[in-house]
Each structure stands twice: as structure tokens, then as C-alpha cells.
């Protein structure tokens, strides 16, 4: 996909996010919107996957370590063809397979269940390790929140990945600067994030999480990196794309009412329209 197509796809994925949380009257739009462009690039460009073969042993793996952003994840999987986009409306409803947090047992395309912060990265490390042990060439990607990295397990996993030189592993930190209780720098600062990963023997790359050219360059550089895992620190805007949600911690885990839903969809419709003029 070219950059324009990626942007259009990301915009459709953002609409799916709003649909899902509005329909569920719950869920996490803020961190879904901040990660929407990363999700788009991973699933439409970077990863070696085939929605018709979700269990292919040689497919690339993805673990959503910040498991609460299922609206972003599911919307991406749906638009990529793993299941019907229509089903996003059943998100978090009783009996739906689209559980509040990723459930590998029931959702096509989901490689690992997650939701308890700090745990997904360890599973991703296990997948990358398995590839090394078995001589398989698939790559493993995992997305973490910048608040999530306050969890000690993240650093246990990082120490192991660095020690084992897992250059088939890419850890992406969605650096939107906000967690539930506010600004990460004020709650319990994880900064400097880059120096921490460097200290654990990672190759560190900075990128703008909403600039596809930079995102593409970052993943290309990760692919070139040998002998160490890569951490991509993606500077993002929480709530990106919906005017009233941008940079607001309060939109971490709340759903728009009907009126707010209409405004959000109008914001995204306009973005889509502008992209079509290009």
C-alpha cells in the first residue's frame, strides 16, 4: 500500500473503533486511536500474514501486550479480513466472541490472550525464542503502552530478549504520554524509555506514530538489525483523529454517547473526504 492508501485504511479502522466502543457503551478508544496507524502498518504492510490461514505455523506473530485496546486491534483484524467488520458492533456484548480483552481461543487472528498489563511481552518473547529454537523465520511483534512499561515483568522479558539476542522480535511502545491517572511523567515516570531499552541490549528507534513514512523506515531498520531485539518508541497522540478525545486522559476507557459519537464520526468522515481529494 502507498501512504495515501494506508492513511485511508487507518481512517476506516478509526471509524471501526468508534463504532465498537459506542455500541458496547464501554471500551478503550484513547489508546486504540493512538495506535491505529501502527496497527494499520503492521497488518497491511509489515507482517507476513494471511487471514485465510490464521494458524499458519510460519506466519508472523503479534501480541497486543496493552490488551485493553481491543477496539483498535479488532477493527484492524476485521478490516484485514479475519472476521466481518459488522461484528465490531457486538464488541463486549454478552455471548459475542469479541471479548473485552483479546481471547486467542475464539478470535481468528489473535495469537495470544492478554489484558493483564506486562504479560504479553513475555509471551511474545516466547514466540520469538521458539522461532530461534526451531529455525523458523517468522518475526514477532508486540505493542506496549508507555504506562504499561511501569510493570516489572516488562523488564524481566526485555532482559531475557536482549540476553538471547532475539533479533526476530520487535517491541513497540505507544508513547502517547498518558495513562489512566494522568501524565505518565507525573504518575511514575518511565522516562528515559530509550535508555532503558538500550541498557537491556535493544536497538532503539524513535518514530512519529502517525507518520507512515517514518513508521515504514522504523520497521525497515528493525528488519536490518541483527544480533539484538528492536524497540520502536512511537511518539503518538492519545485519541488521535477525534477532536475532543485528543490528549485527554479521560478518554482512556470511556465510550462516547450518541451525540459525541456523531461528532467523532463526522471528524473521521471529513478526514476521509479530504484523503479522497488527494
Amino acid at each position: 500500500m502507498n501512504v495515501l492508501e494506508l492513511k485511508k485504511t487507518a481512517n476506516e479502522i478509526r471509524k471501526g473503533i468508534i463504532e465498537a466502543v459506542h455500541s458496547a457503551k464501554s471500551g478503550h478508544p484513547g489508546g486504540s486511536l493512538s495506535a491505529a496507524d501502527i496497527f494499520t502498518y503492521l497488518y497491511f504492510e509489515e507482517m507476513n500474514i494471511d487471514p485465510s490461514k490464521p494458524d499458519d505455523p510460519d506466519r508472523d506473530r503479534f501480541v497486543l501486550s496493552k490488551g485493553h485496546v481491543t477496539p483498535g486491534y479488532y477493527s484492524t483484524l476485521a478490516h484485514r479480513g479475519y472476521f466481518p467488520v459488522e461484528d465490531l458492533k457486538t464488541f463486549r456484548h454478552v455471548g459475542s466472541y469479541l471479548q473485552g480483552h483479546p481471547d486467542r481461543k475464539h478470535i481468528p487472528g489473535v495469537d495470544m490472550s492478554s489484558g493483564s498489563l506486562g504479560q504479553g511481552i513475555s509471551a511474545a518473547v516466547g514466540m520469538a525464542l521458539s522461532a530461534k529454537m526451531s529455525g523458523r523465520s517468522y518475526r514477532t511483534y508486540t505493542l506496549l503502552g508507555d504506562g504499561e512499561i511501569q510493570e516489572g515483568q516488562v523488564w524481566e522479558a526485555s532482559m531475557f530478549a536482549g540476553h538471547r539476542k532475539l533479533d526476530n522480535l520487535v517491541v513497540i511502545v505507544d508513547n502517547n504520554g498518558l495513562q489512566i491517572d494522568g501524565n505518565i511523567a507525573e504518575v511514575c515516570s518511565p522516562y528515559p524509555i530509550d535508555k532503558k531499552f538500550e541498557a537491556f541490549n535493544f536497538h532503539v528507534i524513535h518514530t512519529d506514530a502517525h507518520d507512515f513514512e517514518q513508521i515504514a523506515a522504523a520497521f525497515a531498520e528493525a528488519r536490518q538489525t541483527k544480533g539484538m531485539p528492536t524497540a520502536i518508541i512511537a511518539k503518538s497522540v492519545k485519541g488521535k483523529g477525534v477532536s475532543f478525545m485528543e490528549n485527554q486522559a479521560s478518554w482512556h476507557g470511556s465510550a462516547p454517547n450518541d451525540e459525541q459519537y456523531a461528532i467523532a464520526m463526522e471528524d473521521l468522515r471529513k478526514v476521509g473526504e479530504a484523503l479522497c481529494q488527494k
Binding site: P57, G118, Q119, S122, G126, M127, A131, E156, M159
Partner: protein, 315 residues
């Protein structure tokens, strides 16, 4: 008396892993800097490329095992029961059991028979924690024969399994050609009509001793070895209650949530009967030689005998 062979079940565990390594190519073993104590070092010697030392980071170790399992490996994660069921409880629940991954938790140094290391290392709560998790199989073998059979059964079984091993060398009691291990199937070791003693782990051999002492008093005790606490062999438990009325449970574990509780859960639903739970009475352990601690906490044959006798006599 002839010398009985004694082996610690952690030793059996390490040996069984090494025995199975060649047969099961996907078998991998993870440890957290305790390979010499958990005895996974035996496997490491035979299969160095399939032994993964994760360092002192148990939560991460369980997560890595989960990731490995998604790719078809059969990982055994090993550390002391305290740091597996305790430290990594939530990882076991959320990263292994909820996704129903094929991870086996080989937890050694369970119970007070850890001995000198004392209370911080003596986990008397692991069975309670593990059996509360949906879909988790919980196995507590009684001796070397059973421990090795349990490892093999766990490999063959598809899904999460918690295996509980001990540090102390314990008598080999199942060394007979008829011995068969089946997950979820209890074993009647001795028939009796007056009382049933249901036991697990190292308490099984102590319960057999108690049964002999009871016999001298004219009390015939049935002894059942429950190696699988979950799923529990409810049929066998209920049948025993119907036959002998009263039931005694014996375990090297808290009386809260362990074998005794599992037996009571089954009986209260299916055949209410009086139950005496012998175990660790809601206290922490302490330092000391294992054999002395087992006596002090009332889990040796003599103590079991005295408690059962009083219970039979209605005291």
C-alpha cells in the same frame, strides 16, 4: 525391617524429563536459577539446547512458556512451589490457563518438608491457588514411581497441568507391576470398613503407617491415594464415604483449600459425611529438619494414627 528405598519426587521429576526428552522432541524445560534444586539440571545435561534458564524472573518465565506453547512446544516451567503458584499465580491464570495453553508447571519444594529454609519457602497454599483456576489439572504424586508416571501423563495430556513435587526423599510405595497412573483416578492402597484415610503426596506413606497402627487396635482403615486433586475422583470418594461413613484427609498443605477442601466440596454436594482434615492448620511453617517438622505439624504416621483413632471413637 528391610530398608525401604527413598527418593525425593523432585529427583523423579528431573529424571522423568530426561527420560522423555528423546521421545518428545517438542518438550522444552524452563527454570529460574534453580536447576540444581528442581533437578531440571538432569534434563539440561541431556538436552542443553532445550533447557532455558530464565534467570530469577518467574513471572516472565511463565509468560515465555505460554508463548512457546502457542507455537507447539510442550514447556515445563520449574521453580519452587512458592514462586510458581505464589509469585506467578496471575501469569499462570491469565497467560496459561485462560488461553488454555499446553504449559506444565513443575513445582518443587512444596510444603513444610522444604525444611531448614523455613516459612518463606514452604508453600502450603499452592493446591488451593491452583485448583481454583478453571481448567487447571492439579497433581501431587506420592513417590518416585508415581511422580515419573505423572510427568509422562502430563506430557500426553493437552492443556495446563500443575505438578507438585517435594524436596525430601520419601519411601517408594508404588513399586509394583500393577501400578497404573491415570489423571483423575484415585488409587485404593488398602481396604478397610471402619474409616477411610484419603491422602496425597508424602502423606500417603505416612497414612499407610497409620493404618497399620490402627489395625493393631482393631480398626480397619481404607487408604486412598489421591494423586490428582483436580479433577478429583469423586466417584471413589463418595463410594468410600458410603462404605465407611467417616473420612479423614491428610495432606502436607493448608487445611484451607487443599485436598481436604476438595473432598469436602465433593461430599457436601453428593454424600454429606463427617470429615476430619489433617494438614497445616492455617499457620506458617518454620525452619528445621524436614522429618522433625513433619512430626511437629502432625503429619507423621504416629500423629495421623492418634488423630484418626480419636475420630473413629467419636472424640
Amino acid at each position: 525391617m528391610s530398608e525401604v528405598k527413598k527418593i525425593a519426587t523432585r529427583e523423579s521429576y528431573g529424571n522423568a524429563l530426561a527420560e522423555c526428552g528423546a521421545e518428545y522432541e517438542n518438550l522444552v524445560v524452563l527454570d529460574a536459577d534453580l536447576a540444581s534444586a528442581t533437578k531440571t539440571g538432569i534434563f539440561k545435561k541431556a538436552f542443553p539446547d532445550r533447557h532455558i534458564d530464565c534467570g530469577i524472573a518467574e513471572c516472565n518465565m511463565v509468560g515465555i512458556a505460554a508463548g512457546l506453547a502457542t507455537t507447539g512446544k510442550i514447556p515445563f516451567v520449574s521453580t519452587f512451589a512458592m514462586f510458581a503458584a505464589g509469585r506467578a499465580f496471575e501469569q499462570i491464570r491469565n497467560s496459561v490457563a485462560y488461553p488454555r495453553l499446553n504449559v506444565k508447571i513443575g513445582a518443587t519444594h512444596a510444603g513444610i518438608s522444604v525444611g531448614e529454609d523455613g516459612a518463606t519457602h514452604q508453600c502450603n497454599e499452592d493446591i488451593a491457588l491452583m485448583r481454583a483456576i478453571p481448567g487447571m489439572v492439579v497433581i501431587s504424586p506420592a513417590d518416585d514411581v508415581e511422580a515419573r508416571a505423572a510427568v509422562r501423563a502430563a506430557i500426553e495430556y493437552e492443556g495446563p497441568v500443575y505438578l507438585r513435587f517435594g524436596r525430601l526423599a520419601v519411601p517408594v510405595i508404588n513399586d509394583n507391576p500393577d501400578y497404573q497412573f491415570e489423571i483423575g483416578r484415585g488409587i485404593t492402597l488398602r481396604e478397610g470398613q471402619d474409616i477411610t484415610i484419603i491422602s496425597t503426596g508424602l502423606c500417603v506413606s505416612e497414612s499407610l503407617k497409620a493404618a497399620e497402627l490402627l489395625e493393631a487396635d482393631g480398626i480397619q482403615a481404607k487408604v486412598i491415594n489421591i494423586h490428582t486433586i483436580k479433577p478429583l475422583d469423586e466417584e471413589l470418594v463418595v463410594a468410600a464415604a458410603k462404605e465407611t461413613g467417616k473420612i479423614v484427609t491428610v495432606e502436607e498443605h493448608s487445611v484451607i483449600g487443599g485436598l481436604g477442601s476438595a473432598v469436602c466440596d465433593a461430599l457436601c454436594a453428593k454424600y454429606p459425611a463427617p470429615v476430619l482434615k489433617i494438614g497445616i492448620n492455617d499457620v506458617f511453617g518454620e525452619s528445621g529438619p524436614a522429618a522433625e517438622l513433619i512430626k511437629k505439624y502432625g503429619l507423621d504416621g504416629q500423629s495421623i494414627y492418634e488423630k484418626v483413632r480419636a475420630f473413629v471413637k467419636g472424640k
